[in-house]
Symmetry: C2
């Protein structure tokens, strides 16, 4: 009996089928079928009630799952604790974040990371869709926005502020935009996400919040691409500070309302570092968290 088979069994219960489990583990479905059959033979019990269209664990299968699932996790944990004893931290850490943030802020750090931890591998998964941390075996995620819920540890990396920016070139063509309400008449570039494409909120000092309805010809789901169109002078866009630092300094982008706080969702957005809430974190994960915290603190 192999631990890989037990993992596969657990995965099969969670996936609800041999084919799905096979896909997750990147092996042939027939192999799953055979391994589970072997396990059933060992235990002398059928673990799944299966036909082509129905698939469910038997009572015995469910019971076995309840016992085995935590055990193989602990087995992994034991192996990780042993790895932690090694002279050099080693292994692979899977990090998930959005495409834009990954490209703009994480990728530039990886050279330093590799130099510091030569035996540590990073598997960087950039995805703008919601990700299932558990199934995808994500060790660390960085998410931007309001404080996320869920059962994991949240560490606030730095606050994220948004700015309405336009290219210098655009502003030359355009008469001066004196007040946020003027945006309603401009061709703004928008995100397709909830809030972003309907109205932007402005706040200055103790003044009353201003809500401006936004329209425009372009809706772009990727922040890098969105910034690109703003740079081309298509129109103003709402961009996060971490992705426009350089452009503001060199003057290719201009913050239209530097006195205002602006947001399309919530004024209290930040970059959050998330990881599983466990009593034991492998050293490789702890070190990576530490590294990201340290490097990204520079954005504050």
């Amino acid at each position: 009996m192999k631990t890989a088979t037990l993992k596969l069994f657990v995965e099969t219960v969670r996936s609800g089928g041999f084919t799905a489990a096979a896909a997750r583990q990147q092996i042939d479905p027939s192999s799953v079928s055979r391994q589970i059959a072997a396990l059933e033979k060992d235990l002398g019990v059928r673990l799944f009630e299966r036909s082509t269209r129905r698939f469910q664990p038997t009572e015995a299968g469910l019971l076995y799952y309840e016992f085995v699932a935590p055990l193989i996790e602990e087995l992994d944990e034991a192996a990780n604790r042993i790895l932690d004893l090694r002279a050099n931290p080693s292994g692979t850490v899977r990090v998930s974040t959005s495409v834009a943030f990954g490209v703009a802020c994480i990728a530039p750090l990886l050279g330093t990371f590799c130099a510091r931890y030569p035996d540590l591998n990073i598997d960087l998964r950039l995805d703008d869709q919601p990700v299932d941390f558990v199934h995808e075996k994500i060790d660390i995620a960085i998410r931007l926005g309001p404080a996320p819920g869920g059962d994991f540890v949240r560490a606030r990396l730095f606050p994220v502020r948004h700015h309405v920016c336009a290219s210098a070139e655009f502003l030359e063509r355009q008469q001066r935009v004196e007040h946020p309400t003027a945006l309603a008449k401009l061709n703004c570039v928008r995100f397709p996400f909830k809030g972003f494409n309907t109205q932007w909120h402005f706040r200055r000092g103790r003044e009353k919040e201003i809500i401006v309805p936004i329209t425009g010809k372009l809706i772009i789901s990727n922040a890098i691409a969105l910034k690109s169109t703003v740079l081309q002078g298509v129109g103003p866009g709402l961009l996060a500070d971490w992705m426009i630092k350089k452009e503001l300094e060199e003057g290719s982008l201009v913050d239209l309302f530097p006195d205002y706080q602006v947001t399309a969702t919530d004024f209290e957005t930040a970059a959050w570092l998330l990881y599983a809430s466990r009593n034991y974190l492998p050293l490789k994960v702890r070190l990576t968290i530490e590294f990201l915290n340290e490097q990204l603190a520079k954005f504050t």
Copy 2:
């Protein structure tokens, strides 16, 4: 990584060497060497510090052992709980007792047992030497004598009384043995165990205990063989009631002092059923305990 390899690792830590572990698991030492080497490669750490004359787990090995040992036990437990769900109890139960008791009292029950539980196998280990329950993986032991100590559950099956017996034929040749003290001058058959071969203790009602020094030409370690010599008329012997019931009834053996309680060790001896003190006992073990309790209660 196979669970068998992990078991082997645990066994190796306990045995203190590859060769010893190999002997316990009945496999080739080279196989142990290779499997542990593979495990070390997986973990990226050396688990044992080994030279030809020194063998000890490394720090990592010991740590891994602490984690893994309970886990593989729980894995076994999980499998057993699944087996318990089967329609018929199945598996193998390992029972240990002394040679004489096994032959006289347990073996005769096994026909009934097999009929009642057709899928249950008994592995009956008869041994007069002390046995390491844990290492020998004994599920149930029956021990005769004073209440045994140790970390397991004790169930008292029935009291054991000893009787000084001689064959009918011997008594014909011999003048009547009126009083226990007369034994000191007879050729008694003795056990080699502590107490048995030096003196026997007699007690009647509230009278003062009589201690009689015993001598004789024969010392025999096996109770069945000892009974055989008594039956041949060699001389009197101290025999437990459970092994002479039939002979007393048919008159081939005679209890010389039916009024006395006799012992070579302790008046409070009994037959004890012992099993591991765990929160979970496999069904097969529970049923066998139940069976033995039920069947052996008839001796009371």
